[in-house]
Symmetry: C2
Subunit: 495 residues, 2 copies
């Protein structure tokens, strides 16, 4: 039976903490090296648990005493079954690279790390279907399929440490979504340990299977609140044989949409990225040494920039298409761009990307970042940034000693805007000026308050800005169906 | 409360039939022309209901007295709410083009036809996102987005009559899946009337939205058993500017896989179809005048054929790539193909496709067809066909007066084989020889007994060949959660 205690004004579920009896039981399931605990007989030093208790931004902090690192699905199942019977809450943890505190304990939950489940189970180079343990690091899977001329359908900055299981659990978006679509399409099957310990094996390696409800979809993006993903079957894509990129400077934001339309029409199937950076973000990236700065004459008069990438089968064909595109753009009666700089070699290719990918790091170097990851109609990107800046100005918060920069960048092709506010410090005043202002602004565009980062612990209170009451009520019914005791990643996604 | 009656050896749920009181209530919701019923005051002729009570193959037959054709989501909701209170079972019906009896009543259920909900709600030519009523015919949506240089991400033979709502409800696969992926990826949002009448509005027109559980996925492929899809938000793709095709003749089935690998490597992103036809299927298509027969010298020594399609941005580029491919295939030391015939103009392009698409019609003309739509590993395609033929032979059923042909064709790129058995008549003996033999054979390859056609009424008893007990148990829990009274398309998907 569930127990509840009075907590402030709300009734909060009372969970069990991991105790000696639990450690004794876990020792029957796992070898000693797979158990990290500050409890006897292991008495691990608390700081050894820091990487599991804290996120990389040092924003979320848990107090777990125990971390388990199973190697097999059966072990995960045995652990979960025990926790279910004891009402011990569990935080499933992958690479712990999330941005919303979804993979860190809120209190002293048990952390189940998938890091030791890191084997490739199978790969079929004909179909491109890869079956891998959830704890496989994304980059290692990329390396695994690369000699077979395939690439993973998902790519993100954290690829060197994030796990494929975490990618799926958070429905990671990233840089290849425009080309390869979302994980809801490319994930073919999952193996999941449900909150009662049952192993749900839907690890099909079939491209097509229309036999009943597609249950696995529920776990994609559920952030570990409905069960622990232990293995993933995913469709990898044939590697493009050639990639090119170009950065375009635009005199007005208003030109971005007509440009996107022209580019889609002319590049069609070889367009693999269409990324937006406003002038503020560009200058910050350059200031902090990210990527390749353009020549002064290329930047003059530019309000914003677009980074285009093509991935195709033949370099000469793609270059020809890109050149034709640039010519037609520059020779138009009313040119949409002021200039375009094409990368000429792999080093230039990387340094153009570094300009776009380096914005995040530049913002961190410049000050404290308030980050919003939203979906809004493409046409409203600039307005969201401008309205936020004006709102901060009206509150007297804009200036060298408070909010230094407000900027926008992101995946135009996906309607995904990263709105970043860079300040000298984290303050309650700025926070209060930003929320719920930003969420209400996004909601007024019927946008999403989390395009790709998820809800985690950070945005549970704001879910209603993006989802109707009916939708949230049904999410809660699904949660209660799968996890009636609420032991699976409590406090994440749903309040 | 639900009532049950003893039915044979099982307890079967007792539903209400539509009665006078119900018609009177429906008249408060709908105008007279939206109500077809054999009951007073309308007294529709029973044969007017034939198109709603029977499927196009004339295999499934219902006895519905009443068909309702709402125009708005609110009307659908009002109808469902009433039926829920009265425990009247409902069959949601789109274009009624399915192959497994999923959209036809089994008894005298109420048919709710979506045919009058046929408006496009919005289309954004920049993002390519289309929002349409569920009753829009697929071809009409293709025509709608075509002037904006977009195409629907799904295409199938029934496009002239199937509805987009039905496509989504059955998770239709079709001819473009290899290129554009499954509907789980391209459907961005749904509006659904749940079995209690609640309208679940998840009709987002955002490409990315990571805010909680992706509930809409449950309705994709649920075949109307969890609710009625009333509108769909879907990502359309930029139209390819050029399409080419070629038919290749192969001396052995064993060459299909190496060929597929070589083609994927050389054509990469422009490959849009890789379809397989065995010699039997080819000859039947030619015999019945489907498509363009190859010259005798091209067919000599061919065990099977592959139809390749490319869709790219520039005709000359794609032709160059195709020519290079053919040259390298034919000049290899051990050529994988004996010959290849490239279409030279739109008429030839269509007639090559007609060879592949015409197999279905040719089979119908030749005799009575037993059709299996399965997913199996690519390497086992021929073995599944051969083993089935041998099994029928061992039962003495192969010959001019019983089973005339056993053949395989389908979407190699998707691992989807259409196994067709063509006989002089439908007989119990052939049926018993085929089932469970075929299902067991597919199951031995960990395949799917329904790659794209769904379960419907036809395969509920065979679901366990493709799904584990645990999976089926969870499907039932989901069904009970959404539809506790079981009024929504009863007897479909789950027994």
């Amino acid at each position: 039976m569930s127990r509840f205690i009075r907590h402030g004004l709300r009734w909060t579920r009372q969970y069990s903490s991991v105790g000696q009896k639990d450690i004794d039981h876990f020792r029957t399931i796992l070898p000693p090296h797979a158990i990290l605990t500050t409890l006897p007989p292991y008495n691990t030093q608390p700081d050894e648990l820091d990487p599991y208790n804290n996120d990389w931004m040092q924003k979320y902090h848990g107090r777990a005493t125990t971390v388990l690192k199973p190697k097999t699905t059966r072990q995960v199942s045995d652990i979960v079954r025990w926790c279910d019977s004891r009402e011990i809450p569990i935080v499933p943890q992958g690479g712990n690279t999330g941005l919303v505190g979804g993979s860190v304990p809120l209190r002293d939950e048990l952390v189940v790390s998938l890091a030791n489940m890191n084997s490739v189970r199978s790969f079929d180079p004909v179909s491109g279907i890869l079956v891998a343990d959830a704890g496989c690091i994304l980059q290692s899977l990329t390396d695994y399929v690369s000699p077979h001329n395939h690439i993973m359908p998902v790519d993100l900055g954290a690829k060197g440490s994030c796990h494929i299981g975490g990618n799926v659990a958070t429905n990671a978006g990233g840089l290849r979504l425009l080309r390869y679509g979302s994980l809801h399409g490319s994930v073919l099957g999952l193996e999941v340990v449900l909150p009662d310990g049952t192993i749900l094996d839907q690890l099909t390696s079939l491209r097509k299977d229309n036999t009943g409800y597609d249950l696995k979809q529920l776990f994609i993006g559920a952030e570990g609140t409905l069960g622990i993903i232990t293995a993933v079957s995913i469709l990898t894509a044939p590697s493009p044989q050639a990639s090119n990129n170009v950065i375009l400077a635009l005199p007005h934001f208003d030109n971005v949409l007509p440009l996107y339309r022209a580019v889609k029409r002319q590049l069609s199937e070889i367009l693999s990225a269409f990324e937006y950076i406003d002038r503020t973000a560009y200058e910050l990236a350059v200031k902090h040494g990210q990527g390749r700065a353009l020549a002064d004459e290329d930047v003059a008069g530019a309000a914003c920039f677009v980074l285009l990438e093509t991935s195709g089968g033949r370099r000469e064909h793609d270059e020809e298409k890109l050149n034709d595109l640039l010519t037609s753009l520059l020779e138009a009666d009313k040119p949409l761009i002021t200039t375009g700089v094409l990368s000429q070699n792999p080093a230039q290719f990387s340094s153009l990307w570094a300009l776009r990918e380096g914005v995040t790091e530049a913002v961190s170097k410049e000050g404290k970042a308030y980050k919003y990851d939203v979906s809004v109609p493409l046409a409203s990107f600039q307005h969201v940034v401008d309205a936020t800046r004006e709102h901060l100005r009206s509150k007297g918060l804009l200036g060298e000693h408070s909010v230094k920069h407000v900027m926008g960048y992101g995946h135009v092709g996906d309607g995904n805007l990263h709105l970043n506010i860079c300040a000298t410090a984290y303050t309650q005043e700025i926070q209060d000026a930003l929320e719920p202002f930003v969420y209400e602004l996004v909601s007024s565009y019927h946008g999403s308050i989390s395009a790709e980062h998820g809800i985690g612990a950070m945005k549970t209170h704001a879910l209603h800005y993006s989802k109707s009451e009916t939708s949230i009520a049904w999410m809660k019914k699904i949660k209660a169906l799968f996890d009636p005791r609420g032991i699976m990643n409590p406090g994440k996604v749903l309040e």
